[in-house]
């Protein structure tokens, strides 16, 4: 299997980071924790890697998407909805592994951190390769991106950007970012199995004969991200401040219908 861990880019040298173990929470809480971590990394500069799953199937809207656009996808209408702070299209979070990676960025850095998409996705592709899954970035599939596939599709997994991971022609991993003044949050979804609420989107286990679990994948992804980013990930948990911040952010933003319906 081709080693995809060859991207040069951001490296922190020998930095210590915090990895937060796989856990399941509600949609608003998950988004609030990611935001609290972004605020915390903006203050401290210490990278944080987190893995999570969703207590109930949920549709998340990209930050700039209109709530009314939900009508474009009837299958996901029965599930709850949360608005992310990150860009891109809507995602049905159900049978998936979600990660969030938050790292400091240099003052004056502009634009999306493309290298971070590349490094993270390469690390996940290598973890998948260990289980016999051949995933490649869309830009290396040889398929020409169609303009209409970029933003007109409601669902993120029906769009294609250069670093999306593709297995057997299907997108299985997509990520998005949110920048603060001195940090960037990137979170992404790895589809494990098809959701009842997005039946057109297969997960990796629908394309494999031997199923792989989130619990099997996480340690391998952590190890690969340690190597590619130059971060020694140490097991940790949310700080008291992050828990307090997440609780407030959850109430004021992600659990608020005003926030969800702001567009």
């Amino acid at each position: 299997m081709m080693n995809t861990r060859t991207v040069s880019g951001a490296s922190f040298g020998l930095t210590i980071g915090r990895v937060i173990s796989l856990a399941t929470a509600g949609a608003a809480e998950n988004m609030a924790i990611d935001q609290a971590i972004l605020d915390s990394v903006t203050r401290t500069g210490v990278p944080v890697l987190r893995f999570y799953q969703w207590a109930q199937p949920t549709l998340s809207l990209g930050y700039f998407q209109r709530l009314a656009a939900r009508s474009a996808h009837a299958q996901s209408e029965p599930v709850g909805c949360v608005r992310r702070t990150t860009g891109g299209g809507a995602i049905v979070h159900d049978r998936e592994l979600t990660y969030s990676l938050t790292i400091p960025v240099p003052a004056g850095a502009a634009g999306p951190r493309s290298v971070l998409y590349q490094q993270t996705h390469a690390s996940i592709a290598d973890a998948l390769a260990d289980f016999g899954i051949h995933a490649v970035p869309f830009c290396r599939t040889g398929v020409e991106p169609r303009l209409e596939s970029q933003n007109s599709q409601f669902l993120c997994f029906q769009r294609r950007t250069a670093e999306d991971l593709i297995v057997s022609g299907y997108k299985v991993l997509g990520s998005a970012q949110r920048k603060s003044r001195s940090a960037v949050l990137q979170h992404g979804s790895l589809l494990l199995c098809t959701s009842l609420y997005a039946p057109q989107l297969p997960g990796i286990n629908d394309l494999l004969s031997t199923p792989v679990t989130a619990e099997q994948l996480v340690p391998q992804i952590v190890e690969n991200l340690s190597e590619s980013l130059g971060v020694e990930w140490r097991e940790g948990s949310l700080s008291n401040q992050e828990i307090i911040d997440a609780d407030q952010i959850c109430r004021e933003r992600f659990d608020s219908s005003l926030w969800t319906a702001r567009r």
């Binding site: 990209g62 930050y63 700039f64 702070t85 990150t86 860009g87 891109g88 240099p106 003052a107 004056g108 850095a109 502009a110 634009g111 999306p112 951190r113 493309s114 998409y117 970029q150 933003n151 950007t161 997509g174 990520s175 998005a176 970012q177 949110r178 920048k179 603060s180 003044r181 960037v184």
Partner: protein, 133 residues
């Protein structure tokens, strides 16, 4: 008349400001630098502030999305928003070609001219961009 980018002031976060006197008041016209737009690579969304909003230098006044990344825009000066380029969010494809004229985003009536002192001149900003790669 085209704006001369070498005469503008810049924030570390890549917003430019053109200071001028209008009706006896200091007004700063604000946009995003050509370097930032190149790095952002195809903006797809932009959110603008409301007219009349009071901004403090360094405060977020809007947001943009490119390549699934949402980035804040920071005001280089303190003051009240007196004009907003309402057509811009629907014409983002024109921004890269003309960041300093068509690409103005807001005008701010500057309330605290001290807030300008920490901004970079063109040479210092160019140096920052070169170091950022």
């Amino acid at each position: 008349m085209s704006r001369d980018e070498s005469k503008l002031l810049y924030a570390e976060s890549h917003e430019w400001v053109d200071l001028a006197e209008e009706d006896g008041k200091a007004v700063g016209t604000i946009g995003l630098s050509g370097f930032a737009l190149e790095q952002l690579n195809d903006l797809v969304y932009m959110e603008l502030p409301e007219l009349g909003r009071e901004l403090t230098a360094g405060e977020e006044f809007g947001e943009v999305e490119s390549v699934k990344a949402v980035s804040p825009l920071y005001s280089p000066v303190s003051g009240k928003v007196v004009a907003v380029h309402e057509d811009l969010p629907e014409s983002l494809e024109k921004l890269n070609d003309d960041p300093y004229d068509f690409g103005w985003i807001v005008k701010v009536e500057v309330s605290d001219t001290n807030s300008v002192e920490s901004l970079l001149d063109h040479a210092a900003y160019q140096k920052q961009c070169a170091e950022a790669g």
